[in-house]
């Protein structure tokens, strides 16, 4: 009994870490490679999650749809919706310095949250959407473990794609923009164009993460998309793991999710009347962790590898 409880905790832990790893990989595309500062992750995450939920849940009178579509259609919808949102944000901010993107992205996240909360016809408002099925529901394959395998496959797939992108000439241009914008422009690259592409790709990955989250958790409400969970944890994960390094992003997601869950166990020891203070204390610890990393080891656990120098002929 004890052992199976532990096993199921582990499965749920790893699934969460997997969803966060997808988000961290999306952020790595934007921040790690291109140096674009997006702190509206929660917005893209929410758009992905709600799109997938509306597409796949059985029809309901309380909100738009559901359309009862299969899992993969829901995920595809999540990716498309967050791509469109990323395109809009990217088009507005691609020409501006990254502080403006940061401010605009936090605005987008707030707008998405306000919209989700207030437009009950679409999202069922604060009551949320319940009963989002896992794939293979009502078959023998339906178990948390199967879903963990599915999430792991998606993490592996996304990792493969972004790693290919990183190694490609396209990825090199992104890093060149991050390191030296005027020089890259002088080399004839369209800065705004590449930035937009990276931003939209990152947003699409975040939307995928949102879809995966919806089917894992089974219930969505606006409270899940407060900036803390959606945005801040992902940032700490990427910075801790090593921004610019895709393996670092995944490792950071697992480690920081471990720390975050660990603090939950710790504050769980407090008496129940201190429950709200316990939650605040956890955020405080994670915040301090971020500052310590920034001051002492800004490159993270797995730093970005410098590119291999070509052997020079003498």
């Amino acid at each position: 009994m004890e052992l199976s409880g532990l096993a199921s905790y582990l499965v749920s832990f790893l699934t969460f870490a997997g969803v966060y790893a997808v988000l961290a990989l999306g952020l790595n595309m934007q921040w790690g490679f291109t140096g674009q500062f997006n702190i509206g992750i929660a917005g893209f995450f929410a758009v992905g999650a709600y799109t997938s939920a509306i597409l796949t849940t059985p029809s309901s009178p309380a909100y738009l749809g559901g359309f009862g579509m299969p899992f993969l259609v829901g995920l595809a919808g999540a990716v498309i919706a967050s791509t469109l949102l990323g395109l809009v944000v990217g088009l507005i901010t691609a020409r501006l310095r990254t502080d403006y993107l940061a401010i605009a992205s936090i605005g987008i996240a707030e707008m998405v949250r306000l919209f989700v909360k207030n437009e009950g016809w679409l999202t069922n408002g604060v009551r949320g959407i319940a009963g989002i099925d896992r794939p293979f529901a009502d078959t023998v394959l339906d178990s948390p473990l199967t879903y963990l395998v599915i999430v792991a496959l998606f993490v592996a797939g996304v990792y493969f794609l972004v790693e290919r992108a990183r190694a490609s000439p396209w990825g090199r241009v992104l890093r060149a923009i991050r390191e030296n914008e005027p020089a890259t422009a002088a080399a004839g690259k369209s800065i705004a164009g590449f930035r937009l592409q990276a931003f939209v790709l990152g947003s699409a990955i975040m939307g995928l993460g949102g879809g995966l989250y919806a089917h894992f958790f089974g219930f969505l409400s606006p409270e899940a998309f407060m900036p803390l969970y959606g945005t801040f944890l992902v940032w700490v994960m990427l910075i801790a793991g090593g921004s610019g390094n895709n393996r670092g992003a995944i490792l950071g997601a697992i480690v920081v999710w471990g720390v975050w869950s660990g603090t939950a166990l710790l504050t769980g020891l407090l008496p129940t009347e201190y429950a709200t203070q316990g939650a605040a204390l956890r955020v405080l610890l994670i915040g301090v962790l971020l500052q310590v990393i920034l001051v002492t080891r800004p490159e993270g656990i797995l730093p970005e590898k410098p590119p291999k120098l070509l052997a020079r002929k003498r």
Partner: protein
């Protein structure tokens, strides 16, 4: 007509709050070149510092203002010395991440110390004056005071920036960092004063917000977006622009309730900001892009 005048008053009150925040954001951006994301939570912390001060000494609500401003000025310098100064040499964007983390640290501290329930400076309802000569419009004494004190603070900042050596040094650093440093401006002292003023004004914004509505751990965070919108509208790095930006955003947010649900007030600030970013990213007063 009375409705519109009434909303105009509310807008100017909100505008005063936003102006206090936006001047700080703008100055910090001008000197240190990063968007300070903990500014909203500076406002929150300032408001709560004021609350503790008046409840400790049993004073009336307006005493919260000087206490909060002094306290926040000190805390802002402390945070800069402990954290921001250490990473100032790296890219400004690292400071941005650090300030985002600082925002969450401050908010959870407020929750830990003061709890997460709504609190008020003074209980009871304040009776507004009925202004019959303005079509029966109502004006709360508190609202009048918020506007007058903001005006005085803005005038103080103006005098500081134009009449004192340090103020002139600050404008010089904001206009042309390299030239200012070459001519021997004491950079560290200017940065410190920037934090004192930014922190104190943020605290003033927090106290105004607390007097106008209530105190809550996320009160500052939810105001951050309109504050940034005001700073961008005025031209980021331009303290004077922040005043115009704050008033325009404040009035538009309140006026918008005539047309759209009040829940979408922040969306108005956001829409103005996005429009500005598309049409004239340098702001009305040509800030640093």
């Amino acid at each position: 007509m009375t409705d519109i005048l009434q909303l105009l008053i509310y807008g100017l009150v909100l505008g005063s709050v936003l102006t206090m925040g936006a001047i700080g954001v703008s100055m910090i951006f001008g000197i240190l070149r990063f968007a300070h994301f903990a500014h909203g939570d500076f406002m929150t912390l300032g408001a709560y510092l004021g609350l503790s001060f008046i409840s400790a000494f049993g004073l009336s609500s307006w005493w919260a203002l000087p206490a909060a401003m002094v306290g926040m000025g000190v805390i802002a310098v402390f945070i800069d010395q402990v954290l921001y100064r250490r990473i100032r040499r790296t890219q400004p964007v690292i400071l941005l991440i650090a300030s985002f983390g600082m925002a969450l640290i401050l908010r959870s501290l407020v929750q830990l110390i003061w709890g997460s329930d709504n609190q008020t400076y003074a209980s009871g309802i304040q009776f507004p004056w009925q202004l019959d000569w303005l079509g029966g419009m109502r004006l709360k004494p508190d609202h009048l005071w918020i506007m007058l004190i903001s005006l005085a603070l803005v005038a103080g900042v103006h005098l500081f920036l134009t009449r004192t050596r340090l103020g002139k040094a600050m404008r010089a650093m904001s206009d042309n960092m390299d030239l200012a440093l070459v001519s021997g401006i004491p950079a560290e002292r200017v940065i410190m004063v920037t934090w004192v003023i930014g922190g104190a004004l943020a605290a003033a914004a927090g106290v105004f917000l607390g007097i106008d509505t209530r105190l809550h751990p996320v009160m500052g965070w939810t105001t951050l977006l309109p504050v940034f919108a005001a700073a961008i509208l005025g031209g980021i790095g331009r303290p004077y622009g922040a005043i115009a930006g704050g008033m325009i955003i404040g009035v538009s947010m309140e006026m918008s309730t005539l047309l759209i649900p009040a829940a979408y007030k922040p969306a108005v600030a956001f829409a103005i900001m996005v429009g500005m970013l598309i049409l004239r990213p340098q702001g009305i007063f040509k800030g640093t892009v």
